[in-house]
Amino acid sequence: MIDKVQHILEKVDFKKGDFADIRVQKGYGTSITIQNGRPEQINFDKDMGVGIRALINGGWGFVSMVGFDVIEIEKALKKAIKIAETTAKKIENKGVMPEEYSVQGTYEVKFKIDPRNIAIEDKYTLVEEFEKTTRTYSDKIVSTNASLKNWFQKELIVNTLGTKVINEYGNLNILCMATSREGDIMQNVYTSEGTTNGWEEMEKYDVVNKGVELGERAVKLLKAQKPPSGKMDIVMDPSLVGVYVHESFGHAEEADSILAKDSILEGLMGSQLGSNLINIYDDPTIPGLRGSYCYDSEGTKTIKRQLVKEGTQVGYLHSLETATKMGEEPNGAARAMNFNHRPVVRMGNTYIDSGDLTFEELLELVNNGVYLENSYGGYVDTAKGEFYFSAQGGYLIRNGKLAEPIQNVSMSGLCLEVLERTVGVGKNLQFAFPGSCGKSAQWVPVHAGGPALAVRQIVVGGQ
């Protein structure tokens, strides 16, 4: 197939500076969801299609189609070229791709135990046990939802620069959510794990213990205090650090945001952004994490990227286009959700590196304040650099120790303030945030994390 697709590109005469690529993708997977003890749904999903980009006279065109018919792909390429030509007449900021940059390679996923070979009944049993353990922990648990998803995809990528790449990717994700209720007081908690390793990870995942922990957390939060509000010193757990470093900082490091003047980090390369205790990386080469992959959706081999070194900004995340525009080397960060979308600059596994303090030492540093644990989403305005994150719960910190539990606690502030005001970095790096990252209406699997952090004077609030 890849030779046929390459031949389609070879038949078209592209001028110097023009570019096109064809991405053929086949993906399939199963998912199981159980809700309140009842089977919610069992799914098999299959995606087969082609995404085609053309850059003509500096204008971009993109066309997607279902199926792999060669004649239809040829037609779609012509349409992409026509759209690009029309766009080129109206643009001011011309698109640019490298004059020379090609990759040839194949990456085949090798699972220890291939999730595709596990019987659907065995997958169901695992989810059932997870959901049931959580639900039966207490009669105050009024709702539960547990799910398991596995996905596998193969992409063929060819372009007019000579790139010819075959890349495979597969992942597994398990999740359980619970709602506890006492009158009008309701608390929501969840726990999840995601991996690009095989079924062996699910065999290690103790759904009984995890379910009990989740149920216990949901019930305990019903009696927790409302959070204090105002500016105070805090300790963030690794999942909050993960959400922070991904949402609040990582997106601002994406070079397309920098070029679009939509990032607070524009013009700050080489500047001291925060405490010299902070080192930040994005590394899709770490085996087994959700955001791990070999080649990106432009066929570039990905590498570990250092974004911040001892508080100083040292790197961006790049696609072929952003690297060319900024005169830097591509680093394999252009990812597309599927054939129906253009690759855009994305993170893989983003983290703040570990420091040298124990959790107890972080609490002592803060002395009086708030500990936030188990992230529950949030959002960021990358242009303004303002963030808002909520946690499933937390504790007051009094005299350097954890005191009363608190519910529905949130934190907000300016993105760089967290880096500036970090006074302590924990020693236990955990990738505690397995998630799906949304950008440009595309969702891609990512992981994020860090050690716990002690931070001065952050706005805390909640219900």
Partner: protein, 443 residues
């Protein structure tokens, strides 16, 4: 396609399914993307795929494919039936809906002007929005303009066989204003079902004006003060509360805020809310829901009293209530769950100007939903499009400020409803004033 779908249903039943449903989409979307005040890419994307929902002994299997050729449809029908047989029974399931003899006529769901709009015209509309944003304000804009045309088809083994064409134009424009190191961002958007109602110039002008108005934001102290929600904020807030509060599936799960409260006063008597999928040219309008059940209007809250849950066929059967035709699918592969189409809130007798002038100290929110956290009645939101009201006048925009309350407090603390309404292509709302909410400030 009709013969293919009939064959698929026959095959599914032959393979042992008790009931079978086909949900198919065929269409396309054209998108013009822009950033840094200029167009940079155009896209033409497929919206095609098919989903099969099969039930065997009350077990459910779902299979989907982006391909709609005979072989792909055969493969997923067989897979859906296989999964339905592997699935344990859901004893609460009774039946798919249908058949139905009569479907409502809804005016303006599919506009020739949108479907036949040349790609170049979408580009011109985008440029018009950008030019209007930049005409009077110093801003940097980004966003996208989109045309969607899709045919939605639903067949099931009980005799539902319906199809509808839907088209729309959408424009979203984000604006960033910057003076020295002071940065403010805002947006405007519009989605319509008729080309003539689309106003790209307004989208550009409003987004840019909003962004500039948010420059000079200041922190405030933590305190408990009144909050005024503009029309869009009210629409999104009430919509999110009602969506989670009266959802029949949430009632079954035990997490609906208003479970067992039908007939009870849940908010002040000035609040009446209905869901209206029949509104002409409404962007949430359609002839039938995602199970092929004919749409109709539904009063959700009348003079503050909770009147009805909204349901799909599954929930209606479980709760022994009428199916209100609110089944919606998030994707081809999702099981349909109840969701609102477009809500319409009755006007009150106050005015936004009065609400502001009568407020000694408070917050004015623009286009900011006070949404409850997923599944919880608690509300905790960062204010990024808000202003401090001081002595009856808008004083300054806010930064590092969060508002916290919960849905019960919010509904009971509404003290004014405006007579001015906004009509967002079928979603209609006044503005409201809330007596008090907790503000967490960074000062």
């Amino acid at each position: 396609m009709s013969e293919l779908f009939h064959k698929a249903i026959r095959l599914g039943l032959k393979k042992g399914a008790d009931q079978l449903e086909i949900f198919a989409l065929e269409g396309y979307t054209d998108v013009v993307q822009f950033e840094k005040n200029a167009i940079f890419a155009s896209e033409s994307k497929t919206i095609t795929g098919i989903g099969i929902r099969a039930y065997s002994n009350k077990g459910l299997g779902i299979a989907t494919s982006s391909m709609m050729d005979k072989e792909s449809v055969k493969e997923i029908v067989e897979m859906a039936v296989k999964l339905s047989k592997l699935s344990p029974s859901d004893d609460l399931f009774e039946s798919l809906p249908g058949p139905f003899t009569k479907y409502p006529k809804v005016e303006g769901l599919n506009d020739k002007g949108i479907c036949e709009l040349p790609a170049e015209s979408l580009t011109e509309m985008t440029i018009e929005a950008i030019d209007n944003a930049l005409e009077k304000q110093k801003v940097i804009v980004s966003g996208n303009f989109k045309r969607v045309a899709v045919t939605e088809t639903i067949y099931n083994s009980l005799g539902v066989e319906v199809s509808q064409n839907l088209s729309s134009l959408t424009g979203v424009l984000f604006a960033k204003a910057e003076v020295n190191s002071d940065i403010a961002t805002s947006w405007d958007y519009q989605k319509v079902r008729k080309k003539e109602e689309f106003d790209p110039a307004r989208i550009g002008r409003v987004a840019a004006k909003n962004a500039v108005s948010l420059l000079g934001s200041k922190k405030v102290k933590s305190q408990e003060i009144p909050v005024i929600l503009d029309n869009r904020s009210t629409l999104d807030t009430i919509s999110s509360i009602v969506a989670a509060g009266l959802d029949a599936y949430e009632v079954i799960l035990g997490t609906a805020f208003f479970k067992d409260r039908l007939g009870e006063q849940v908010t002040i008597d000035k609040i009446t809310v209905k869901d209206n999928p029949l509104y002409p040219r409404g962007v949430g309008s359609a002839r039938f829901d995602d199970e092929g059940v004919p749409h109709k209007e539904l009063v959700l809250i009348e003079k503050g009293i909770a009147k009805a849950y909204f349901s799909n066929s599954y929930c209606a059967n479980v709760l022994g209530m009428e199916n209100t035709a609110h089944a919606q699918k998030n994707s081809l592969g999702s099981k349909p769950h109840p969701d609102l189409t477009q809500i319409q809130i009755e006007p009150g007798d106050s005015s936004v100007d009065e609400m502001i002038s009568e407020t000694k100290k408070g917050i004015y929110l623009k286009d900011s939903a006070l949404e409850p956290s997923a599944g919880s009645p608690n509300i905790s939101v960062l204010i990024d499009q808000g202003f401090l009201i001081k002595d009856g006048e808008i004083s300054h925009p806010l930064k590092e400020t969060m508002v916290g309350t919960n849905i019960f407090e919010l509904l009971n603390n509404i003290i004014a409803v405006s007579k001015e309404l906004i009509n967002e292509s079928g979603s209609i709302s006044p503005a409201i004033k809330i007596e008090k909410a907790t503000i967490a400030g960074g000062k």
